[in-house]
C-alpha cells in the first residue's frame, strides 16, 4: 500500500504549501490594515470590501511586471537568490506537526509531512541556508546599497542564530528529543512556556531578528539603504523575497507554538485550528511590535545579540540542567 502513503504525502504537501501561500498573501493584508490602524490611517480599502482583494491585485501586478536584471549584476546568482529565501522558508514547515494521526480507510496518516528525528536541527539547517539568499542577493546586485544590506543581513542572521539555537536547548532537554512531534507530545500536561519563560522570550526576540522585521530591519533599512539587499529586484523576484518574509513569520509562529505553547493542543477546537490560531496570534504580535518600536542601531543590535541574549540563554541552560539532574 505504498501508493496510498505516497498519495497521502502529496496531498499533505499540497495542502501545507497552499495554506502557507494563502496565509502569506493575507498576512500582508492584515499587516497593512493593522499598521494603518496603529498609525491612524485607513490602509488598503479600494480593491474589494475592506481591501480584501488587495493581495490578489498585488500578486497579479508582481507577476506581470518586467523582470529586470541589472547589466552589472552576476546574472545566475542574482536570479537564484530570491528563490533560496522562499524555498528555505517554505521547506521548514515540513517538520511542523499539525495534529495527531488521522484514520482514513483503515490507513493511519500522521498529520505531519515528515517526522524527522532531527527535526529541530533540520529547521536550523534551513534557516542557516536562508542567509545565503540575503547575502547573495545583496552581492549579486553589484550595487553599494544592496551589498551593505546583504552584509548587514548576514552578520545579523549569524549572530542571532546562536541565541536562537541556545534558547531551544532547554526545550530539547525537557522533551528529550529533537523531533517536533515528540516535543509536542512532551507538552501534554502543560506547555513549556510555563517552565521556560526565559527561553520563550529569547526565542521570540532572536526569531524576530532572523526574519528581519522592524526593530531588527537593518538589512533593508529604507531610509539609509533604499531597500537594502532586494533593492535592484523587480517583479516576482522581489515578490519572492517578500513571500519568504511572510512565510517566515508563519514559521516562527508555528515554531513558537510547537516549542512553547503546546503545538496543536487545545480544548474543543480541532488541532489544525489551534495551531493556526497560535500562529496568527504570534504574527499579530509581531505586527504590533513593528508598529510600536523604532529600528535598533547597529551597535545596539550586536550588543543585544551577543551580550544579553546569548549569556542569558547559556545561564538558562545551566539552570535547566541542574533542575533536571537534581
Amino acid at each position: 500500500m505504498w501508493i496510498f502513503g505516497f498519495i497521502a504525502l502529496l496531498v499533505k504537501i499540497g495542502l501545507v504549501l497552499g495554506g502557507l501561500l494563502f496565509v502569506a498573501a493575507y498576512l500582508v493584508w492584515v499587516e497593512r490594515k493593522l499598521l494603518a490602524r496603529l498609525q491612524v490611517r485607513l490602509g488598503p480599502n479600494r480593491a474589494g470590501k475592506f481591501g480584501l482583494l488587495q493581495p490578489i491585485a498585488d500578486s497579479i501586478k508582481l507577476l506581470t511586471k518586467e523582470d529586470i536584471v541589472p547589466e552589472a549584476a552576476d546574472r545566475v546568482l542574482f536570479l537564484i537568490a530570491p528563490a533560496i529565501v522562499a524555498v528555505t522558508a517554505l521547506l521548514m514547515f515540513a517538520v511542523v506537526p499539525f495534529g495527531t494521526e488521522l484514520l482514513i480507510a483503515g490507513q493511519v496518516i500522521p498529520l505531519v509531512v515528515s517526522d524527522l528525528n532531527v527535526g529541530l536541527l533540520y529547521v536550523f539547517a534551513l534557516s542557516s541556508l536562508g542567509v545565503y539568499g540575503v547575502a547573495l542577493g545583496g552581492w549579486a546586485s553589484n550595487s553599494k546599497f544592496a551589498l551593505l544590506g546583504g552584509i548587514r543581513g548576514a552578520a545579523q542572521m549569524i549572530s542571532y542564530e546562536l541565541a536562537l539555537g541556545l534558547s531551544l536547548v532547554p526545550v530539547v532537554m525537557l522533551a528529550r528529543s529533537f523531533s517536533l512531534v515528540e516535543i509536542v507530545n512532551a507538552q501534554a500536561d502543560y506547555p513549556f512556556v510555563l517552565v521556560q519563560p526565559v527561553s520563550f522570550i529569547i526565542f521570540f526576540i532572536a526569531a524576530m531578528a532572523e526574519s528581519k522585521r522592524i526593530p531588527f530591519d537593518l538589512p533593508e533599512a529604507e531610509n539609509e539603504l533604499g531597500a537594502g539587499y532586494h533593492m535592484e529586484y523587480s517583479g516576482m523576484r522581489f515578490g519572492l523575497f517578500f513571500l519568504g518574509e511572510y512565510v517566515h513569520m508563519q514559521i516562527l509562529g508555528a515554531l513558537l507554538a510547537v516549542f512553547f505553547l503546546g503545538g496543536w493542543r487545545g480544548p474543543l477546537l480541532p488541532p489544525v485550528v489551534w495551531l493556526t490560531i497560535k500562529m496568527i496570534l504570534a504574527a499579530l504580535v509581531m505586527v504590533w511590535i513593528r508598529g510600536t518600536l523604532p529600528r535598533l542601531r547597529y551597535d545596539q543590535l550586536m550588543v543585544i545579540g551577543w551580550k544579553v541574549l546569548i549569556p542569558a540563554a547559556l545561564i538558562n541552560i545551566v539552570i535547566t540542567g541542574a533542575f533536571i539532574v537534581y
Partner: protein, 175 residues
C-alpha cells in the same frame, strides 16, 4: 542497482563535480557557492548512510556558519581585478605529488580491500543513540575537543580585547 546505490552515485557525482568547480573557479564567491553545494551533498550522503544527526550538523556548521563567514569576507573583495595567471610550476609540483599519492591510496582502498564488494547494511543512528555512544565510549575525546574550542574562543577574545585597548589608548593620545 537499488534506489540507495543510485542515490549514492548521484550524490557522489554532485559532490565531486561541485568540489572540482570550487577549486577551479576564479570568482571567489562562485567558488564558495560550489563548496556549499559540495557540503550540502556530503550532508545528504550522511543522511543516506543513516546518520541524520551528522547530516544536520554538517549543514548547520559547515554549509551554514563557516561558509557564511567566508562569504562575508569575500563579498567585500573586488572580484575582477589583477591579471589572471596560473601558479608558477614550483607551487604546482607539491600539489600534483600530493594529489597522486592521494589518488593511489584511494585506488588501493577501493580495490585492495575485501570489504569493498559487500554492500553496507542500512542502519539508522538516532541522535539519542549517537549521543549515548559518543559519551559512553569517547567521553575523554569529546572533553578534549571542547577544551580546544574553549581555548580558541578565549584566544579570539584576547586578540579582540588587545585591539580595542590599543585603539582606545591611541584615541586618547591624538586629541
Amino acid at each position: 542497482m537499488t534506489l540507495y546505490s543510485l542515490l549514492f552515485y548521484l550524490l557522489a557525482i554532485i559532490i565531486l563535480a561541485s568540489t572540482v568547480m570550487a577549486v577551479t573557479r576564479r570568482n571567489l564567491v562562485h567558488a564558495i557557492i560550489y563548496l556549499v553545494v559540495s557540503f550540502f551533498g556530503s550532508a545528504m550522503l550522511f543522511y543516506l548512510l543513516g546518520a541524520p544527526f551528522l547530516a544536520a550538523i554538517e549543514v548547520i556548521i559547515y554549509a551554514g556558519a563557516i561558509m557564511i563567514l567566508f562569504l562575508f569576507i569575500v563579498m567585500m573583495i573586488d572580484v575582477d581585478r589583477h591579471k589572471e595567471r596560473l601558479f608558477p610550476i614550483r607551487q604546482c609540483l607539491p600539489a600534483i605529488i600530493f594529489g597522486l599519492v592521494y589518488a593511489a591510496v584511494g585506488l588501493m582502498v577501493t580495490f585492495g580491500h575485501s570489504g569493498s564488494k559487500a554492500s553496507m547494511p542500512i542502519a539508522v543512528a538516532t541522535p539519542n543513540a549517537f549521543g549515548r555512544f559518543v559519551f559512553e565510549h569517547h567521553w575523554l575525546a569529546v572533553e578534549i575537543v571542547s577544551l580546544l574550542l574553549l581555548v580558541a574562543l578565549i584566544g579570539a577574545l584576547y586578540l579582540g580585547r588587545l585591539k580595542i585597548e590599543k585603539s582606545a589608548a591611541a584615541g586618547k593620545e591624538t586629541p
